[in-house]
Amino acid sequence: MKQQQSSLPVARAVENQSVKLVIVEDDKFLRDLIVRKLSREGFLVWEAKTGEEGLRILQESPPQLVLLDILLPGMSGYEVLEAMQKNEKLKSIPVVILSNLGQKEEVERAESLGAKDFLVKAKYTPGEIVTRIKDILAKLYM
């Protein structure tokens, strides 16, 4: 199984530790925990505390995927998504929402703004989040 996957660019990239992720999360503890897990899984993780900071990092060097919170100081996650949609360079970067919201309207709003997935923090373990990220990357870059 692993042999087969190695032929995929993503799997190769993961092994080479060159898949770059940006995480936008204001809670330091949560950010530290998920960054620790992602780094252990071999991802290169850039951290941002606010939507504005996240967008700046995205502009400077676009990553393969963005993990985005919705309730943030300043710009909300929705606004970050809107800004990304308007920008040709950032439009195609997949965004996974990682929030503790998660009612139908919130999920629909995020999806209509181009989010690839919506994960509720309290419902997913770091391991499950990594699996979802890998699935999305595999589907997109295969």
Binding site: D27, L30, R36, L71, K121, K123, T125, P126
Partner: protein, 376 residues
């Protein structure tokens, strides 16, 4: 707090009602007097007509018939007029009452009359206003309540997520090696934390159900996988309580249903939680999936304490917990089955149960499965 606010409002209402007291209707404008006069005049007219016939002793047959006919027609017209003026205001009132019942917030009321009917309309308008005011207050109170629940749930979920993640990272060995004893304690902490998260999700769901905004995201789902996930998630609880948990599938494993995966998972988890929680050590919980006339039937049978017959009608009510359940376990919100029922009914299914005290309970629910599967 609640009561004081209300009683103060009631006091202010009472004074306005006192101010509203209308003066007595003047004799000349009285509805009663008018109806009386009208009927009396009609009677006099008829008597006069009859008297005329007898006094004048109308001789001709043809004329005689004509006069009787005239009398009958006059009586009809007069009766109609009396009936009309008396019942018209009643009909208007009935119409308004209907509008209020149907939820019309503003009821246009014509109070140009200043007789008894006008008075009734006036008080009726006051009542209608009060009804719509209390309805508005109810809506705004319920909004405040659900806003509170949403904010509180979100504020609680963030630290609980942090706990969940850190405990999980330790259990997964991401924070370095841990020994068996540490693992055991961490596992229990993780379960406790999961329990609180589950409870908060229940509160959120209830508040959404009450608001009528309990959203579903339906899509084609391999429904047995969803149930399997719920069974696996309940395994830890079953192990702790030393209850055997099994899942028998008498259906093809790739059976599909139009369902909301996460909501269905919650429904099954809630039913399983009850089955395991109220089973004694050494008990058994069996989940069985079978096809019955195009619907998937899931039966969850336990060997637990059962539900007392007199309480069986209430177990799907929110916050309700059977008396023997409370005696056995103080923990529990009484929300699980209420939520499960709501979810299953939204999927076009139904949920029923049979139970015998000290023997056990079987909860069965149905989910319609997609047509293309049945054709196979």
């Amino acid at each position: 707090m609640y009561i004081t606010v209300y009683s103060r409002k009631m006091d202010s209402r009472d004074t306005t009602t006192n101010k509203d007291t209308l003066p007595a209707v003047p004799f000349g404008r009285s509805f009663t007097v008018r109806v009386f006069l009208f009927t009396f005049m009609a009677m006099l007219l008829l008597i006069a007509l009859v008297a005329m016939i007898f006094l004048l002793q109308v001789p001709m047959r043809g004329h005689f018939l004509f006069v009787w006919l005239e009398l009958t027609v006059s009586a009809l017209i007069l009766s109609f007029l009396v009936a009309y003026i008396t019942t018209r205001p009643i009909l208007t009132l009935a119409k308004m009452a209907r509008r209020i019942v149907e939820g019309g917030s503003s009821v246009p009321i014509d109070i140009k009359r200043n007789d008894e009917i006008g008075q009734i309309l006036h008080f009726f308008k006051g009542t209608a206003k009060k009804v719509s005011e209390s309805r508005e207050r109810e809506v705004s109170l319920s909004n405040i309540k659900s806003q509170f629940v949403t904010v509180a749930a979100h504020q609680l979920r963030t630290p609980l997520s942090a706990l969940k993640w850190s405990l999980r990272l330790m259990l997964d060995g991401d924070m370095g090696e841990i020994n068996e004893k540490q693992r055991e304690f961490l596992k229990q902490s993780y379960q406790t934390n999961e329990h609180i998260i589950h409870l908060i999700n229940d509160f959120l769901d209830i508040s959404r159900i009450e608001e009528g905004r309990f959203g579903f995201q339906f899509k084609k789902t391999k429904i047995l996988d969803t149930i399997q996930k719920a069974v696996e998630a309940s395994m830890a609880q079953a192990v702790v309580r030393e209850v055997t948990l099994s899942f028998t599938k008498d259906v093809p494993p790739d059976i599909e249903a139009i369902a909301d995966e996460s909501r269905m998972y919650t429904a099954v988890l809630n039913i399983l939680d009850n089955a395991i929680r109220y089973s004694d050590t050494g008990g058994e919980v069996m989940v069985r999936a079978a096809l019955k006339q195009g619907t998937l039937e899931i039966r969850i049978t336990d060997t637990g304490i059962g539900i007392p017959p007199v309480e069986q009608s209430k177990i799907f009510s929110r916050f309700y917990r059977a008396s023997n359940a409370i005696r056995q376990q103080t923990e529990g919100s009484g929300l699980g089955l209420f939520i499960a029922k709501n979810i299953i009914e939204h999927h076009g299914g139904s949920i029923t149960f049979t139970s015998e005290e000290q023997k056990g309970t079987t909860v069965s629910f149905t989910i319609p499965v997609t047509d293309d599967f049945i054709k196979k």
